[in-house]
């Protein structure tokens, strides 16, 4: 299933919008839930049971946490500090047992469906065994809804989120049809109020939602799909090409991935916007980042935040890590202890981040590639500051910023090459070729694309670039368009629709990109 398909946009989404308009206020949320489960059933059929089990497990655990918290609050009333601490500890350990069981329960589904084959193969290789490899079809969006489920569970456990009593809301939270397939990875606090408010389809919501969807379609059909043929040719037979063509292939893949994934997010956020439901953004002009850390706070934002909140800080501040860093602080210095602390937690984050993207060595290498880059950035930061001070260069200097952006983008492109390569040997071969067989005069531009394709591609990328600059300057492009005269507005909409129909890269000679993140 793709959010770009006509079946989704013109049949499913449109039908839900029409029915939603005529549904009584009280039943609107239920309608969205029914639509979400209908879509899930259509794609994953009986695997819906796993979604239901995850939903029930976090719903019940949340209520149990609340019950324990309420009991604890009664017990600690009027007792002294020492006793209060003791009571709190006692009730916390009760909650911890439930938390661990529920995490294991949910993670085990993810492990079985996503990683069992991969790890069985590894065991077979290491021990020369012949364990039968089970190939299971995973429930739709399991990587996304499991992380959302865990975030609700942990937040309720930590009393950062109130336990939800209404199961319909929790069911909708995990299954909401625009987000189920590719995110954004939601925290319950992101959507609780959105699901509760009396939302309706207004002319403004509808126009804004459709506008956003059209922008997503523009990115996908005019840019991503156009680049796919070139990317496929280079990545499928890289030995046929020199290093410069391979680098161009990696650059095109990075652009393709951004346009496909951020374009999907435009469709997802636009779909929800039609129903007056505001979802969190997943991209914030990532190619304006000045270092890799910043890049990951602008690219797939909700995944980065999830890892930061539920892995990075908890690992950094866990008892064993704290013990080690206190020791290092006393024996060596504070800076070194913090570097070690961050190295341990970054290692955990990037191991899991790589694996989350897929059960394969290229994904694991992709994770560790970023781990090394971020760690090196942390280690050399004081040295860079010293050099900049000596050279009297400010970090706000425009040329310096520009060079930092170029450096970061280049490193990102190399990372995406590892990500896209069919295996690790291929990735290493491609990287080697870039650094040993690079000749800019011998780039083969005409792989699956002709000069007309390049004209459309360049104009489209310039349009996205200009919109990105405006967004970076906090100029709301959509508000600006909505302020224009109705004639101008509709000329823009029609131009966009016609542009997609006329210049979209579909039909003979093109190979559309499959939904990339849906496979994760």
């Amino acid at each position: 299933m793709s959010y770009f398909s006509l079946k989704y946009l013109l049949v499913f989404l449109l039908a839900i919008v029409v029915v939603y308009i005529f549904t009584p206020k009280k039943l609107k949320r239920l309608l969205l839930l029914l639509a979400s489960y209908a879509l899930f059933l259509k794609v994953s059929k009986k695997l819906v049971i796993y979604l239901l089990l995850s939903t029930l497990s976090i719903y019940i655990s949340g209520l149990l946490f609340k019950k324990i918290d309420d009991k604890r609050n009664i017990k600690i009333k009027g007792v002294d500090k020492e006793k209060r601490k003791e009571i709190k500890e006692k009730y916390k350990s009760k909650k911890k047992i439930i938390l661990i069981c529920c995490i294991l329960f949910n993670v085990s589904f993810l492990f079985i469906f996503k990683y069992l084959t991969f790890f069985t193969n590894i065991i077979n290789i290491i021990f020369s065994s012949d364990i039968k490899v089970l190939k299971l079809l995973a429930p739709m969006g399991i990587s996304f809804y499991t992380l959302s489920a865990l975030s609700y569970l942990i937040d309720v456990y930590n009393e950062k989120q109130e336990a939800e009593k209404n199961i319909v809301k929790i069911m909708l939270y995990l299954s909401f049809f625009p987000t189920i397939l590719e995110g954004p990875i939601l925290k319950y606090s992101d959507v609780k109020d959105e699901f509760e408010k009396k939302s309706k389809v207004t002319y403004k919501n509808f126009c804004f939602g459709v506008q956003r969807i059209l922008y997503g379609l523009f990115k996908k059909f005019l840019i991503a799909d156009r680049l796919n043929m070139f990317v496929k040719l280079v990545f499928d037979n890289y030995t046929n090409y020199n290093g410069s063509t391979i680098l161009l292939g990696a650059l095109f893949y990075t652009i393709l991935l951004y346009m496909e994934f951020s374009g999907t997010m435009d469709v997802v956020i636009g779909s929800a916007e039609i129903f007056d439901i505001k979802l969190p953004e997943n991209f914030k002009q990532p190619f304006f980042s000045k270092n890799i850390s910043e890049f990951w706070s602008r690219w797939h934002i909700t995944l980065g935040l999830w890892f930061k909140n539920y892995i990075f800080y908890p690992v950094s501040l866990s008892k064993p890590v704290k013990k080690l860093t206190t020791f290092l602080r006393n024996k060596i210095n504070a800076r070194f202890s913090v570097i070690v602390m961050s190295a341990i937690s970054l290692f955990a984050v990037w191991s899991l981040n790589g694996l989350w993207h897929g059960a394969g060595f290229t994904y694991i290498a992709f994770g560790y590639y970023h781990f090394i880059l971020i760690l090196l950035g942390n280690i050399f930061e004081p040295l860079i500051v010293k050099i900049l001070n000596k050279l009297k260069i400010s970090r706000q200097n425009k040329v310096y910023k520009f060079l930092q952006i170029i450096k970061t983008s280049f490193l990102v492109v190399l990372g995406e090459l590892i990500f896209r390569a069919k295996d690790l040997t291929t990735a290493i071969g491609m990287l080697k070729s870039i650094f040993t067989n690079f000749n800019i005069t011998k780039i083969n531009f005409l792989l699956g694309m002709d000069s007309k394709d390049y004209i459309v591609l360049i104009i489209s990328i310039i349009i996205v670039f200009i919109i990105s600059i405006l967004k970076e300057k906090n100029i709301n492009v959509r508000e600006k368009i909505s302020e224009k005269h109705i004639v101008i507005r509709w000329i823009i909409y029609y131009a966009l629709i016609l542009g997609i129909i006329v210049f979209g890269a579909y039909g003979p000679g093109y190979d559309p990109v499959e939904p990339i993140y849906a496979d994760f």
Binding site: N158, E159, K160, S293, E294, S297, K308, N309, F312, Y313, P314, S316, L317, T325, R329, A334, R335, S337, V338, M341, S342, N378, E381, R395
Partner: protein
């Protein structure tokens, strides 16, 4: 508060911590700076900052960080 400002200035001398209200949201403090800050606060003020307290709202200004320290001292 003076001590806290001193710690913050050691992390990023280019920021005016007395007036800045978007330390995290404006990326003046990244994850590594937050870890350094937590480590310094814990050793200087004898408090333990739990993971649940590491949210932008608690770290976006020196005032907010100070309020967090005072709250944790009270809890202790």
């Amino acid at each position: 508060m003076e001590k806290l400002i001193e710690i913050l200035e050691g992390l990023n001398p280019e920021v005016d911590f007395k007036t800045c209200n978007d330390l995290v949201d404006g990326r003046h403090l990244d994850s590594l700076s937050i870890l350094s800050l937590i480590s310094e606060i814990e050793s200087e003020f004898d408090v333990v900052i739990p993971t649940v307290e590491i949210i932008p709202e608690n770290f976006n200004s020196a005032k907010k960080i100070w309020e967090l320290i005072e709250r944790l001292e009270e809890d202790n």
